[in-house]
């Protein structure tokens, strides 16, 4: 609860005045009958029609106040709950933005999406209900108790037994419902992830004709969700009958005790009748309050999941960076005794004792077998992950000492698994530099060999891309991603197998553009094709997480067996053709 205080505080007035205004309805409901009573007692008794009419006018006045208060209270309560949850949603989203790659790996996309929408909606609903009922039920409850006590203390003693008993039962129900709702939300997560996977993998499913298989899989998850929901709801639905039962028992006890009192002459009938009315009022409002609490057990499960995100410790920050003002100037990269693994629990390192140095402006190719650690290695340079041991230096300074923004501004990286976002091509390219001029954009696109095909589209740079950039081909997408990185004008540019879908000729053009226009930029290129990196200043050969060679093509051909092997695996074929 304390965690939510900061979301309540900005809307505190709404939170206070919403329920307070709702009081006008409660007050009206109490006052109107008393006015009505005078209408009958005075008006009718004296056959005074003008008096009756004047009372009616007063009553209409009260109703006006009630409606204004009621509408106002609703408005404030709705605004409070919606604004409150919008703020939470914003903060959870912000938190996700601050996640490190490692944090992102931990949560599945589907689960993050459910937390940001579904779970927050639960919180919002319960808050709204709470605000609208907050004053009504307790007001009625307290009023009822006071009136009952005033009428007859000994009879009211029944309440002292019934209320705690009732509280205990409801508490017990909630205690049992909460873990079950947790299971429900988890199953919902699983179901959603399944649906999401299904949508992204639609081509695979269709090509293997696995629709029925997927439907069966979904059916199981769906039934599972139904069963766990039923399991939780089974408890919740017991509340209403339990409450009614409690109310009935109280009623019978009251009538029994009260009846005996009346018969013995200790109480008059009128008071007993009034007393039962108050008992009903007390228990009714008690019922509303407990329903609210019970509803909140589902919200509590959601709240826990939201807090899981909010309380995740971001394990990669620049809080302790000592040189926050420093920017990357030259583009020198050095690895010193670097070891790395993704999970602490893994025994073997993905990268093992890596040492090398790249001078500013050099082009370095990285080559190695599938799974040898190429991607892992370059991800350490813009500090997407932290090293397990050793240090990575850029311009002679440990990457941990830069502010993350300055470091990543200086290091442009085209990821292997890359994404374009909805919006126009220009919007997407501007990710590299928001303030880029049209010329700069076209120049970057031209260097990435994207300008031509973009211009061939009817809308050119204003062409809308669907989600994931589906209306461009794989190779075009890669070139747009390169252009986006080029616009950043980074000092170090990393291409992680970013031209795999680009044809050889176009790739050669890109390489040529790099060599001529990006002379001062350090370029690190992961590639499968030797031809992509043959002309590089240096080539780094990676094998099972170790550097087995670092030198020029000519040197490596002579000294490095593995490199030679890779080289001939490609040249051989060309020769044998």
């Amino acid at each position: 609860m304390r965690q939510y205080w900061k979301y309540i505080r900005p809307h505190l007035l709404y939170f206070i005045f919403g329920p307070l205004l709702m009081l006008s309805e409660v007050a009206g409901e109490i006052v109107l009958p008393t006015i009505m009573a005078t209408m009958i007692d005075v008006g009718i008794a004296n056959n005074n029609i003008p008096y009756v009419i004047s009372r009616m006018a007063i009553m209409f006045g009260c109703i006006c106040v009630m409606i204004i208060g009621g509408l106002g209270g609703h408005y404030l309560s709705v605004t409070a709950s919606v604004a409150f949850s919008a703020d939470i949603r914003k903060d959870v989203f912000k938190k996700v933005q601050s996640f490190s790659f490692k944090n992102i790996d931990k949560f599945s996309t589907g689960s993050l999406v459910t937390r940001l929408t579904n779970d927050i909606t639960q919180i919002q609903n319960i808050t709204r209900m709470f605000l609208i009922m907050a004053m009504r039920s307790p007001g009625m409850l307290i009023g009822g108790i006071i009136m009952a006590l005033r009428l007859n203390r000994s009879l009211a003693a029944i309440l002292i037994i019934v209320i705690p008993l009732l509280g205990l039962t409801i508490g017990l129900l909630m205690y049992n419902a909460y873990p079950r709702f947790n299971v429900v939300q988890k199953k919902l997560d699983g179901l959603n992830s399944g649906i999401q996977e299904n949508i992204t993998n639609v081509r695979v499913i269709k090509s293997f004709v696995r629709e029925k298989f997927e439907i069966d899989k979904f059916r199981r998850a769906n039934t599972d969700l139904k069963d766990s929901t039923l399991n939780a709801m089974k408890i919740v639905i017991c509340t209403m009958p339990v409450m009614t039962l409690a109310m009935n028992i109280t009623m019978i006890m009251t009538v029994w005790n009260g009846g005996n009192l009346v018969v013995a002459g200790g109480m008059d009938v009128g008071n007993l009748t009034a007393f039962t009315t108050y008992i009903v009022q007390i228990l009714m409002s008690l019922m509303m309050v407990s329903m609210l609490f019970l509803q909140s057990s589902r919200a509590a499960a959601s709240s826990k999941r939201i807090k899981e995100v909010l309380n995740t410790v971001v394990d990669l920050t620049d809080d302790n960076s000592s040189k926050k003002d420093l920017t990357v100037e030259r583009g020198e990269v050095e690895f010193r005794n670097v070891c790395f693994k993704y999970y602490e629990s893994r025994k073997t390192n993905i990268l093992d004792n890596i040492n090398f140095k790249i001078n500013p402006g050099e082009t370095v190719g990285i080559i190695g077998a599938t799974g040898s650690g190429k991607t892992s290695l370059v991800q350490l340079i813009p500090r997407l992950y932290d090293v397990t041991q050793g240090e990575v230096l850029v311009d002679g300074v440990n990457v941990k000492d830069y502010s993350i923004r300055h470091l990543r501004d200086g290091v442009g990286m085209v990821l292997q698994k890359n994404v374009l976002f909805s919006g126009t091509i220009e919007d997407n390219l501007r990710w590299g530099d928001e303030n880029a001029t049209r010329e700069e954009i076209e120049e970057a696109a031209d260097n990435a060999q994207a300008d031509d095909f973009v211009k061939s589209f009817t809308d050119g740079y204003n062409t809308e891309l669907g989600q994931g950039g589906v209306n461009v081909s794989g190779g075009q997408k890669q070139r747009l991603c390169i252009a986006r990185a080029l616009l950043k004008k980074p000092k170090i540019l990393i291409l992680d197998d970013s031209t795999s879908a680009v044809d050889t000729a176009t790739e050669a053009k890109i390489r040529h553009a790099f060599a001529t226009t990006l002379k001062d930029t350090t370029k690190i290129i992961i590639a499968q094709r030797i031809s992509s990196i043959m002309d590089a200043d240096k080539i780094l050969v990676l094998s099972e997480g170790k550097v087995t060679g670092f030198g020029t093509h000519d040197e490596l051909i002579k000294t490095n067996d593995e490199y030679r092997d890779i080289y001939y695996s490609q040249v051989d074929e060309e020769v044998s053709a």
Binding site: I67, V78, I104, V255, L272, G371, I404, G475
Partner: protein, 602 residues
């Protein structure tokens, strides 16, 4: 595309409310008997409620009756026992009603989700290419959720409300006909206000659900591309954009929920107006009666007035309760419309009924023309012939239309002009499932499912034995890295296989295809992220894979396609050269230039 959907949905909305409700209710059809039973329970519990309160009267009367104390006590005991049994019946009825309805609503939800999912399997690839994943997801989560909330409680409460309303009305008429007229006059005004609020909030709730869909879509897209956001330090911009969407969701929600919430106070006020009018008019009637100005009408005394006024107070409670349900019903209807909108989409066409059996794999692509949008042609007059067992390579610059051809063979998209035949049969005459079962596709974008490595490979052929799966993995050279995974073949992969490298994922995809026995194979940049040595190592495996299968290969690594029987060079959707590797080299045309790096294709 999404804006278009919205427009369509919006224009359809108002007139379709009835149809939507009807359709939603059809999900309850199976459980008619149970619902009937639940309604009986509601009736019983409402009646016991009334009876319980009514019992107080004889009890009280008895207490002051003119008999001995002992007799009064014994009658009290008898009365209390009666009261207790009425209460017990009420509690039981309430419990059974809730128990039945919860099962009914959950089953309906199960069916609704199931139907939506099955429909999803039936939709063409185009639907997924043009709709946001997040927005589709939102229909499963947010929209189905609101429907669930409605089915859970609202149905019963509405019924309960109507029962008490009618009951009270009957009692009012029974007590005093003339005073009931006041209520009869006020009721239509209430109804009018109610429906006005309802129809106004209806549109707002549709907006709320649409905004929710947008926010969902944005979150989904950004979270999926989260790593790109981080690399570009784009967090702040993304947060800004999100805030804009979040704010407009907030505004839509406030508007919708306030509009729905207006119902409560308005109805409450109207019933107080009714109460005041009844009391006032009643008092005047009583006074007029006393003054003898009412003639034969004056049947109203103070006692009657008190009882009547209490009824008119009671009258407001069910109306209030009904009004409370409105917010839920409105959200649910808006949600239901979005769900049904997907269900009403045109399914993937399948008019063929020929089931392929033991085909040779003779594929003829005859003069086809195609564009994803009518205004942009991607392929123009393309013809390709593949004899059984042949390996056909498609070469060309990115965006030339290579993948599009495979999209058409698999019927992910339908051809605009021309035809494709397999063993002489038009693919439109072939049963769609049968067609795809005979084609194994390895796509460039690697797609894995949450599950073990074993399960992922077995996706290629569900009845494959463990040994066959292993063999397929050996063929695709995935076996060695799989063995190095923590749990080998039982290692659980994350949804997108993020614990594997891109190349490793491609190897798994190839293994999947290797397992399949389809006579036609399409490899679309299947090894683009696999290093060349591994590729060389799997070449042997690939040869076995392609043996006796008609194969279409798309690759820009020309080395991987040299031994193709025929190579097609595609440029801007047109085949500009065709022939074997040697022939094309001898021609000294585009392929030659491309191969020797003399000229670029673009």
């Amino acid at each position: 595309m999404p804006p278009m959907n919205e427009k369509r949905a919006d224009t359809r909305k108002p007139k379709n409310t009835k149809a939507t409700i009807k359709r939603l209710m059809s999900y309850l059809n199976e459980d008619k008997v149970k619902i009937g039973l639940a309604f009986v329970c509601v009736l019983v519990s409402s009646m016991t409620n009334l009876a319980g309160s009514y019992m107080l009267r004889p009890i009280i009367n008895n207490l002051v009756a003119d008999v001995s104390a002992a007799e009064r006590i014994s009658t009290l005991v008898v009365n209390l026992v009666k009261m207790a049994s009425i209460y017990a019946a009420g509690v039981l009825a309430a419990f059974f009603q809730a128990r039945i309805m919860i099962g009914v609503s959950q089953r309906a939800l199960l069916k609704l989700r199931g139907d939506l999912f099955e429909k999803l399997q039936d939709l063409p690839v185009r639907f997924f290419d043009t709709n946001n994943t997040g927005d589709i997801m939102s229909r499963f989560t947010n929209d189905v959720d609101t429907i669930g909330e409605m089915l859970n409680s609202t149905l019963v409460q509405i019924f309960q409300g109507i029962v008490s309303l009618i009951g009270t009305l009957i009692l009012m008429f029974y007590t005093n006909f003339w005073l009931s007229i006041v209520t009869i006059v006020v009721a239509p005004i209430m109804a009018k206000i109610g429906t006005t609020i309802a129809s106004r909030s209806r549109k707002r709730f549709s907006r709320q659900q649409a905004e929710l869909g947008k926010v969902n879509a944005y979150i989904e897209e950004i979270v999926t591309g989260q790593k790109v956001v981080k690399v570009f330090c784009h967090e702040d911009q993304v947060i800004d954009e999100f805030e804009t969407l979040n704010d407009s969701l907030k505004n839509a929600q406030i508007k919708a929920q306030f509009a729905g919430g207006m119902m409560g106070p308005s109805m409450n006020a109207m019933s107080q107006v009714n109460y005041t009018l009844t009391a006032g008019v009643g008092s005047i009637l009583v006074v007029l009666g006393r003054l003898g100005r009412m003639g034969s009408f004056s049947a109203l005394d103070i006692g009657g007035l008190t009882v009547f006024v209490n009824f008119s107070r009671q009258f407001s409670r069910p109306i209030n309760e009904l009004a409370q349900q409105l917010t839920i019903v409105m959200s649910a209807l808006a949600g239901a419309e979005r769900v049904f909108d997907v269900m009403d989409r045109e399914p993937e066409s399948d008019r063929g009924d020929i089931v392929l059996d033991n085909i040779h794999g003779d594929v003829v692509i005859d003069d086809i023309t195609f564009g994803y949008n009518p205004d942009k042609t991607i392929l123009k007059d393309v013809s390709i012939y593949a004899h059984p067992g042949q390996k056909i390579a498609l070469v060309g610059s990115t965006g030339a239309g290579k993948t599009t051809i495979t999209n058409l063979i698999t019927r992910f998209y339908d051809i605009d002009k021309g035809k494709i035949t397999i063993d002489g049969i038009d693919i439109f005459d072939i049963n769609r499932d049968s067609l795809r079962e005979n084609i194994a596709v390895v796509l460039q974008d690697t797609h894995l499912f949450t599950g073990t490595v074993m399960e992922n490979i077995r996706y290629g052929r569900l009845d494959a034995t463990d040994a066959e799966v292993r063999n397929a993995a050996v063929t695709s050279n995935a076996h060695s890295f799989i063995q190095h995974l923590p749990d080998g073949y039982d290692t659980v992969l994350e949804g997108d296989g993020s614990n594997l490298s891109q190349g490793q994922r491609q190897l798994l995809n190839i293994a999947r295809a290797a397992l399949s026995k389809a006579p036609i194979l399409i490899l679309d940049e299947a090894t683009s992220s696999v290093d060349t040595r591994t590729e060389r190592d799997i070449n042997k495996g690939m040869d076995t894979l392609m043996e006796n299968r008609t194969t279409f290969v798309i690759a820009h690594r020309l080395s991987t396609i040299r031994n193709a029987d025929a190579i097609m060079v595609l440029e801007h959707g047109v085949i500009i050269e065709r022939g074997s590797h040697e022939e094309l080299l001898a021609q000294k045309g585009r392929y030659y230039e491309l191969y020797t790096g003399l000229k670029e294709l673009d």
